[in-house]
Symmetry: C2
Subunit: 315 residues, 2 copies
């Protein structure tokens, strides 16, 4: 049921032990949303806990300077940036039916919670959390600002993607007034690469394939390559941006082989193709310019499925 941020703020005020669920394969927006809300609730004198089915990626370590309790008995469960209960993953999944508040910005949100707030115009769920914290009358601290800034730059590619709005920049201005560590966060998330990452990127560039008269570029990231480079799987996030960067490419496809087999597919589009529609055909989803899906097939078969889905964008 769609409710106002005021109503959500009121509900949070009434409860004492609040569990915050993020989505699996966590990115800066789900983690930034979760931790910003966590710090705000602590400031209100609550107990809070951020739960994710996957380990927090190392590069986001700066978001979690605070202690998190090992045992936690929630009297309220909130999900942030989770578009579907399936995306909670194994660990958080057991709380799926207890979600009372779902806060998100994915238009495809399918969570049926008693209190739902989805703002598809928000570039990041962190924009919504920013408003929520202000609504609750909590003063935003520098650490909250770092979390919120992280989510915003993750989901907008540092203010570059089409989802960026004047509001995004206005919030960024406020977070900068609060002395958020924007320079080091940007360097950490966008401008630092290990030698392993560079090796992987080069191998990936070497293997790039073109289809649809060079309008589709596809790269494959084999599990073996990732293992040999010794890099964290979160360090592969930047790779999805590479195929779309080539001049003339409209649809960039990145297929990452999963440790358990099959492929995690990221689709990025430039101007007119709908990434969310392409991935939707294979059971995935996301945004118009960036979406994803999982294909549990051997390489050639998986490739054909996703290329066929992409081909429809040019019909």
């Amino acid at each position: 049921v769609e409710v106002s941020l005021e109503a959500i703020g009121q509900k949070l005020r009434e409860k004492q032990n609040i569990l915050i669920l993020t989505h699996q394969n966590p990115d800066g927006d789900t983690l930034g949303s979760g931790t910003a809300l966590y710090y705000a609730l602590k400031q209100m004198g609550k107990q809070a806990c951020v739960l994710c089915s996957d380990p927090f990626p190392l590069k986001f370590g700066y978001l979690f300077e605070d202690y998190q309790p090992e045992e936690f008995h929630p009297d309220l469960v909130v999900s942030v940036d989770v578009a579907d209960k399936k995306l909670l993953g194994k660990v958080s999944g057991c709380y799926a039916d207890q979600i009372e508040i779902a806060i998100d910005h994915h238009i495809s949100n399918r969570i049926n919670a008693p209190m739902l707030y989805v703002d598809p115009k928000a570039a990041a769920t962190c924009e919504v959390i920013y408003e929520l914290i202000l609504t609750m009358g909590v003063k935003i601290t520098k650490e909250m600002a770092n979390c919120l800034y992280t989510g915003i730059i993750t989901d907008t590619g540092c203010f570059k993607f089409s989802n960026t709005t004047p509001r995004t920049h206005k919030i960024a201005a406020e977070l900068m007034e609060l002395q958020c560590d924007f320079e080091s966060i940007n360097r950490k998330l966008f401008d630092t690469k290990s030698k392993g990452q560079i090796e992987v990127e080069r191998a990936v560039l070497d293997s790039m394939e073109f289809y649809q008269e060079n309008r589709v570029a596809l790269v494959v990231v084999p599990q073996k390559l990732v293992q040999e480079s010794g890099i964290d799987s979160a360090d592969l996030d930047g790779i999805a941006a590479i195929p779309r960067q080539i001049e003339g490419v409209e649809v960039g496809i990145t297929m990452k082989e999963r440790p358990e087999g099959g492929y995690k597919v990221s689709v990025r589009t430039c101007r007119y193709a709908d990434a969310s529609a392409i991935c939707g055909k294979l059971g995935g989803g996301g945004h118009v310019r960036a979406a994803g899906c999982a294909v549990n097939k051997p390489l050639e078969e998986a490739k054909k499925l996703i290329l066929d889905a992409a081909a429809e964008a040019f019909e």
Copy 2:
């Protein structure tokens, strides 16, 4: 002589044919400043002309949709984003002593003009031009917004560098309200690479050298490589960012061989080394995190000079 923006606005209002000088090897900030001012002056019923000693790089073509007269007899000469008369280059250089208004954000500005306005807190000269246009009471159009946005993202690395301020984001929010084409501009300037560029980047990565216990990374871009790849020299701008991206590197040095011999050196620093001081030792200058100089020596000698200058940052 330092004057107010109001005084500069008043002077511009009094004149009719205004020549705007940009610096040589033009970047998005000098061109964005020049063209935004150009459009504003046209809107005020003036004749205006933007002059640059080098050809306008192709990728900035969208800034110049309007006609520019071939012959121009100025009654007022203005320089934008030009820190030193030497940087005007050959063509514009003949107007060096006629500059009446100099508008800039480089703290190192050495232009001795009757009217000087330097705001070192401005991330880009385009921030100053934005204020100037408003001061003159001119309504900012979408095309001016595109020019101003271009300068801001060029000089802040898309809001990532330490020079970015809350004001930068507030201006960006205003430019977005004016429907500036932020997505396509960002894609053009940051996220589009030709196959030639990718080839050059890979060759450059292959040749990277490390010094000072991996805190200094140096790459050389040979003229031969650039010629063979067939890319525009402005398309090499992104290369300067690569060495600093490697984990643990504090000083990233890029040496581009010039067609006429010698090297154009770009220095980027991460946290504590002063790029401007390093380049200053070799007669160059710039900002704390990004600076440049020219070294007119054969490769090994040039390399030693710049590495020695960089080494002092670690003493």
